[in-house]
Symmetry: C2
Subunit: 212 residues, 2 copies
């Protein structure tokens, strides 16, 4: 890809690809949606929507690139945490839960987007996405929980089911802004709310898994 | 509504309304989707799709009727549990968690359908849905958790956040069949899987909330 000049005849400013992804993510986060219109994307980013075609082929390609950007950061971070020397399993799990809340605060659309892209992919591509992004996280859970059980600090907990418990609890909270709005008279994801939910999540999950 | 004969000129067999709702729910559950095509509904139910117009006005009306059917059963059941004499808060919460897993096993689409219908409603209707179905459940949690904290059996847990933890963890599990398929080579919601997840959920949530 050249930074300027392409078959569309448009100038592609430096950083345009990243800006399109950033803007698409911001639209999904603010609107609590997992779809975007190319005209809104163009308006918000200040970039010609033909650049979507240039960089991503089409909107589906843009969605997949956003998915890969977000998941790659998560997988890298989780792998680094699990491999960290000198930290015990309890500290690693607390730190991981802290970061899961941060992640869903930043990209509350990610799980729904993942399900959508998988659903719209053929079997081979769906399997590639699962192998690249979902399975590594699950294997990290197996490692982290297994280490803690071996060390006698965690109870015997099934890592597969634990994975659903954690990601479900956190995802649900940040992706149901409509419930917040109509039941609790609060419809923005403030940092105060994030911190309150983080404290709650770490508290109840750690109490649920720690050996007495 | 008359059981037979209407402005569409169609015969409406006894039980047709309930059958349309049952069939719509079964399609969503099996396909892991929150949309249905009227032609599939007609094919599967053996009923003319003009009956949707007769009973529900349009597809949006059908979705809302399904939502109301499912939520009404939940609210009634939760209210009865909270009001039950002679059960302590721990027994009530265990029983509630048991039933939440059953509910999501039966209607795994319900939370996504709720968010969709709220999103597509105007503010007044969205508020009515929240007041009718979401707030009663939240108030039941306040009561149930509050009773347990007062009795000294539960730790101080925020019922609002606890509500998200429980429904999120359970909902996520049953509504991400695609993850099961591609990561765990398992793509149907078997009773064995339900029972395994139920045991896990009750175990980790109760350990998380019970006072030591």
């Amino acid at each position: 890809m050249t930074p300027a000049g392409n078959e569309t005849g448009l100038a592609a400013p430096p950083g345009a690809r990243a800006l399109l992804l950033d803007t698409a993510g911001a639209i999904m986060r603010e609107g609590d949606v997992i779809d975007i219109s190319l005209s809104e994307l163009s308006l918000r980013s200040g970039l010609n929507s033909a650049l979507v075609k240039y960089y991503f082929g089409n909107k589906a390609g843009l969605l997949k690139a956003l998915l890969e950007r977000d998941w790659q950061a998560i997988v890298t971070s989780v792998d680094a945490l699990v491999a960290k020397d000198g930290w015990d399993p309890e500290s690693k799990l607390r730190r991981h839960l802290w970061k899961v809340v941060d992640t869903f605060y930043a990209v509350p659309y990610l799980n729904r987007l993942t399900m959508r892209v998988i659903r719209e992919s053929d079997d081979v591509e769906a399997q590639r996405i699962a192998d690249s992004y979902l399975s590594p996280i699950y294997r990290a859970y197996e490692q982290l929980i297994g280490d803690g059980v071996k060390a006698g600090v965690f109870r015997e907990i099934d890592p597969q089911l634990f994975y659903f418990t954690v990601t479900g609890a956190v995802d649900r909270f940040f992706s149901t802004r409509l419930v917040l709005k109509h039941c609790f008279d609060q419809d923005t994801l403030t940092e105060e709310l994030r911190d309150r939910y983080r404290e709650h999540t770490i508290d109840i999950i750690m109490a649920g898994i720690l050996a007495r």
